[in-house]
Amino acid sequence: MTTDLAGPPHLQVRLFAGLREQAGWGERHLALHEPATPDAHNGAPPPTAAQLWQRLGLGPWPAGVRVAVNREFAEPGRILAAGDEVAYLPPITGG
């Protein structure tokens, strides 16, 4: 969005199924760096998907959860970039 391009870099975060219900939300727009820290201005590296999970305040990393970045599976240690869509996926039960 135009307003984002002018502002600080952002991430899109998505939760599904049980994770979504426990958190009470399914989709959130977050700054790439935690706003309360000076990281955004001092060149600190962006967070990994696992570090971003800590920032969400949803408790410890849940067993069996997988990460997707931009709609492809990724490691929890994947370093995020501005504009990424990060999703936390509980164990899959399709088919």
């Binding site: 998505r14 599904f16 199924a17 049980g18 219900e21 997707a68 709609r71 492809e72 599976f73 999703a87 996926l89 509980p90 164990p91 899959i92 039960t93 399709g94 088919g95």
Partner: protein
Amino acid sequence: MADPSSPLRESSTTLSIALEAWPFDPFAVLRPWSTGSAAAAEAHFIGRVRGWSAAGEPLAALELEHYPGMTEAQLERLAAAAAARHAVRAVLVRHRVGRVQPGEAIVLVAVAADRRGPAQRCCQELLEALKHDAPFWKKEVGVAGQGRWVDGNTPLEEPAPPGQGTQTIRTA
């Protein structure tokens, strides 16, 4: 129609992947797909919603959640990988999303190939792959309306059911 081409022609695979938001008839999907390929070997699998939960309670419905955009892309990646591994001609996948009633088809996988072995193996492998690597989540809805997310898939290998010793055969 028979395939008039030589058995040594270059192989290529046609993928047909779709999510279904409403009840669908697997045979209305399969018939035109099958007629179009008329391959020497075709393997299909249809999965339907059971009438009871994983815990053995009566089930009113399943709610199928997915990740729009990723689920379709992932199904396509899995189907293309399985198709290439087995060098098959055509792969079809249909998967329900939303509320699915007991007895309704939830998943359909079909594979057309030149030989029975690749058709059957590709169909089996793709079914396992999508059960583990395509983002779908089942919530069981009980008859009293209570919901419960399913923990994991039923295992592929099962112990013999208790009824096996009293198996009877009827011809119809």
